[in-house]
Amino acid sequence: MKILEFEKPIEELYVKIEELKRLSTDSEIDMADEISKIEKRASQMKKEIFSNLSPTQVIQISRHPNRPSTLGLARLIMDDFVELHGDRVFGDDPSIVGGPAVMDGRRVMVIGHQKGMDTKDNIYRNFGMPNPEGYRKALRLMQMAETFEMPIITFVDTPGAYPGLGAEERGQAEAIARNLREMANLTVPVISYIVGEGGSGGALGIAVANRVYMLQYAVYSVISPEGCASILYRDAKHAEIAAKNMRITAPDVLNLGLADGIIPEPVGGAHQDWPLTAQEIKSSIASSLKKYDGMSKDAIKNERYDKFRSFGKFNVGSR
């Protein structure tokens, strides 16, 4: 598994522990004391490092190649899940996946971005950057959920919508815009989880939800810090400052009132333990959906509308 730069001191200790263990078996010298001392130090260090992460470090975790994926979470959380393909217009976009599922005897529609697990897979998934077909497939599935009265669960993890030639020709902007409008009209509850990268309009295109939760080390931003830096600071090297200024971590987004809660991750990040992460998300889904049992369709739709209607900070001024 990829070791992030700031994790290296911890990793070094673990390497040392392994070495001592090998040495003690080989030489039959008891090093248990020494080993447990270092183990303690390692876990202490891990806790310290992970409780003082800079936004840039959080971004690294959010982009970890082994971050839980939509398909992985669907398999871990759902009792049954059938992936459906295609937008019925142009093609099937592998960077957005989805389909009907069953969780604890309850029908839901699962939709989310899908990044690849290795280079080959990532090329197939276009690094989780959807084309218009992805957004149109997502909308088709959401409207199917509306028809069959299934709550919608979305998992967000994208650097952004794909800025390619074909994407422009086939209406990337229109596809996202349409999703924003049509999601506002859904009468089934929509619960969104920002799992990894919440990259701009490409994320929002499947996240107009009644409840929006962020995983502890996920980020959500209007533009990538690198993009922001190259525009405003004229230099992508200023991404670190941009990341800090834009307030993109889960606690920051919660503070701005744009997220409803934070899903805790295992120490070291969600990539260390998918089942535990899935369990946390599952219990959040269960308790969120309970809130909508017995709520009228209009109330569900209006709740979502009022939530987004309230977003904005400005001076009204004298009239």
Binding site: E169, A184, V222, M246, N315, G317
Partner: protein, 290 residues
């Protein structure tokens, strides 16, 4: 993202944009064909080059003068202004950028909204101002566009929005992104109220503005030559690592790809809007029969 291109172009074209150094500023040079034009003639032609049909970017004041019935525009929410709630600092603090843009444009933010008449037909009209921080959408733009749409739901008059924007305003962080959802949701309600929305896409309209209300017109009208897209051309070029086709992301390109309904010259824009407004709001004589 496409604000990148705006910055780019602003840098490159900085000198081109200057008026000619002739006393009284009576002459301007067309940015496109370099023809020297008498300013009065250009203005009489609604700032469309008589020689090459290049549509100059115009201010909200000019748009009001050129396209709305005389003295009919009643602006609302003019005093609504931005807040630097993130205390955002890049090469300049956001607070300083706001001050600068306000003193340059004499507007509090990047859109004006109000009611007006077009060929004696009442309408709710919004005009984005590219001169104000690239027409970027922060909280104020999102709120005022939403108020404009809500006015349409209340008074049942068509909503017209002239867009010109590089996308979301980065200095307001994720709050800017949410304005895309807010405005698009309001359009869902406008549709439920059966009130038409005309999106008039002017040069340039990109990023989060295109990916929300600008593309959601019942009728999408574009001014000739207007740059319209999701990602800016430079970003697309870097992504695909090859030269972009000629006319890529221009109004005519979008027409060819089915993304806009019509491309209309500014000289015919007012009459076209009036015709569409009449057609779409015409009460049919068969009312009551179901």
């Amino acid at each position: 993202m496409s604000i990148i291109d705006w910055f780019d172009r602003r840098q490159k074209s900085g000198s081109k944009r200057e008026k000619l150094n002739i006393p009284g500023d009576l002459w301007v040079k067309c940015f496109h064909c370099s023809e020297i034009l008498y300013l009065k003639d250009l203005e009489a032609n609604l700032k469309v080059c008589p020689k090459c049909n290049y549509h100059f970017r115009i201010t909200p004041e000019e748009r009001v003068r050129y396209l709305l019935d005389e003295d009919s525009f009643k602006e609302v929410s003019a005093d609504m202004g931005p807040i630097d709630f993130l205390e955002f600092v890049d090469s300049k603090p956001y607070a300083a950028r706001i001050k600068e843009a306000q003193s340059k444009t004499k507007h509090k933010d990047a859109v004006v909204i109000g009611t007006a008449m077009i060929d004696a037909l009442p309408a709710n009209v919004g005009i984005m101002n590219f001169g104000y921080m690239g027409g970027s959408m922060g909280s104020v733009v999102g709120e005022k566009v939403t108020l404009l749409i809500e006015a349409g739901i209340a008074n049942k008059h068509p909503v017209l929005l002239f867009t010109s924007s590089g996308g979301a305003r980065m200095q307001e962080g994720l709050m800017s992104l949410m304005q895309m959802a807010k405005t698009s949701a309001a359009l869902a309600r406008l549709r439920d109220a059966k009130v038409p929305f005309f999106s008039i896409l002017c040069d340039p309209t990109t990023g989060g503005t295109t990916a929300s209300f600008a593309m959601l017109g019942d009728v999408n009208i574009a001014e000739p030559g207007a740059l319209i897209g999701f990602a800016g051309p430079r970003v697309v070029e870097q992504t695909i690592r090859q030269k972009l086709p000629k006319g890529f992301q221009r109004a005519e390109f979008l027409l060819a790809h089915g993304m806009v309904d019509i491309v209309v010259s500014r000289l015919e824009l007012k009459s076209t809007l009036a015709r569409l407004m009449r057609v779409l709001t015409l009460t049919s004589g068969r009312k009551g029969k179901k």
